[in-house]
Symmetry: C2
């Protein structure tokens, strides 16, 4: 199977590129009317995640409509805690909600053990298989998971939070419990990502949405140690780590054995490149708010961003998931600007 | 008026200290049962803010109960937008709420102009006067305001937000409007802080809670430029700037003409000291979650933090406001550890 457009994969390898590849975090969903139609047919976000044919349909929509250089499987990072025995709901306007949380060893003991990821998350693997078939090798398909620290945050907190203070509290009051939970999340995540590769994913990404709420030492201990364990299980696979907000930990992140690092919109590209060197591809990092601007502003800011990377080891993306009220026409201006940019 | 305990002010000046001064962001309120009693008598947070005798009472409570080295006037950063014509409510469990927001020049035009801060915010000045009288020069009293960028965020968004994307959108779609609003907030803030000094405040602090959502360039333009304007109006006054989360902007922040900089819990102290040098006092930065731990853990983590600062130019604080469910006895352990620490 040779891909018609393999720019994204070549950028991971550090090959010379004729132009930069581009995709958007959260491209599958949110902004497209075509997505909202499918979701409303399904009766909600979670049913859509769990229904392979339709998850596959919305995965491919941005390839057809926005002309991005990679697809990312439509799913949610919270399918992992659910597979471990902690079901969640996605509450409209409010975000995720877990009825049970893990704050004590008694609660940890209630989690399922020796789970068969292939069985519990078969709907994701099935969606990947359908997507690969329907994509007809036009662009690569990215599989993903949440990083263990971020997954722990949701399992301990049970919902979103400004401070995630229950999760951070655990690191001081019961670090052994935190490590035990992080280890179990990591093991399930490795199985899960292997399953995604076997189902046909061409590359992988870990999302650590709450990396930025830890200081450097704690993030090294409770965040990066587990990311490293996961990444080490995927030698030779194009693998991106996105530690959102962890600007203080860039040096540590740079030493991970992955092929690409995601940068959020307020990470300085020059600084990141200086720290990371040319050994890794950098992914990002246009401020998603730029897409609220005029076409001219989008072109100017995109070109400014492209120039700041000063290297062919660049996969273009936003510095955060695309915001729900962005006009898809503005995304097209962004993508066209990148495709017209001469290297 | 000579203060019995002027450690906090001497730390601002860089004088030699026999021990480090300590106070806690959000020390007036939240954690103390004595505070919750007064607040419930008042019928809520906002009435308490607006009732000088009781605002003064809860300002002094932590001096009596926790033995801190400075008092900070009990108030809210949102009194400034309210004085400008944008009233707010504080909704239990949900945070601030504004009925009107500023997203267009028409809406900006509806704000009050040439307001008399001395009249509109007289309740704060009155609370400061009462507090100074009742404190009987035991410790200095800190006055404060929100930094213009953070105040703009609330005026544009109308409530709290994870991304403040409406506010960031404005910086791209109508930067002139943003600058106009920031200028007006800055002017009112200067008057407001002058009023606080005249009423008796011994020092000032600006809180920029949402500094961390901007990249370095935007924070320089829309954040620090206005903070600089304010700080410049207070030469010779002990003045702390706390730009939460702005680790990428530390070099720029270091050049402000203020006497102290606040560090949040995930800023690396070594890095901050290297950038700032010995020209400024650093304030912070124990992770507030440490106070969930055992007494032994609190002692150890506090001493580790104290050692990391390696300089007498240090005012001890948490790296964020104290969390509401912290046991006041744990705060006492923190404070005792600092007072027993030999310089």
């Amino acid at each position: 199977m040779s891909l018609k457009n393999d720019l994204y994969l070549r950028a991971h390898r550090g090959d010379n590129l004729e132009r930069y590849p581009v995709w958007l975090m959260r491209q599958a969903g949110r902004i497209l009317p075509e997505y909202r139609e499918v979701r409303s047919k399904m009766g909600g976000f979670k049913t859509l995640v769990e229904t392979p044919e339709f998850a596959s349909e919305v995965t491919i929509q941005p390839v057809d409509i926005l002309d991005v250089d990679a697809a990312i499987i439509f799913s949610d990072i919270l399918v992992v805690p659910e597979a471990m025995g902690l079901p969640y709901q996605m509450v409209e306007q409010r975000g995720p909600w877990f009825d049970k949380t893990i704050r004590t060893s008694e609660q940890l003991a209630l989690l399922d053990t020796n789970i068969d990821v292939y069985d519990r998350l078969s709907y994701v693997f099935e969606a990947i298989k359908i997507t690969k078939r329907e994509l007809k090798d036009r662009v690569p398909l990215i599989g993903f998971a949440g990083a263990p620290w971020t997954i722990l945050c949701y399992m301990v907190e049970g919902k979103g939070s400004k401070t995630f203070s229950e999760s951070r509290k655990l690191l001081y009051t019961n670090p052994a419990l935190a490590h035990e939970l992080l280890n179990r999340i990591s093991d399930v995540t490795i199985d899960y990502l292997k399953g995604q590769l076997e189902a046909g994913a061409d590359a992988l990404q870990l999302f650590d949405s709450w990396a930025g709420i830890l200081g450097r030492d704690q993030y090294a201990t409770f965040g990066l140690a587990y990311i490293r364990k996961i990444v080490q299980a995927f030698e030779g696979v194009p693998f991106t780590v996105f530690s959102k907000g962890a600007v203080a930990s860039l040096e540590d992140i740079a030493s991970l054995p992955c092929t690409a690092l995601g940068l959020d919109w307020n990470m300085e590209v020059n600084l990141a490149r200086r720290i990371v060197g040319e050994s890794k591809t950098l992914q990002g990092n246009l401020d998603p708010c730029v897409l609220y601007g005029s076409n001219k502003l989008i072109e100017n800011e995109t070109i400014k961003m492209l120039k700041s990377f000063k290297s062919h080891r660049h996969i273009v993306n936003l510095g955060h998931g695309v915001y729900p009220d962005i006009d898809p026409e503005k995304v097209k201006v962004f993508i066209k600007t990148i495709k017209n940019y001469e290297l």
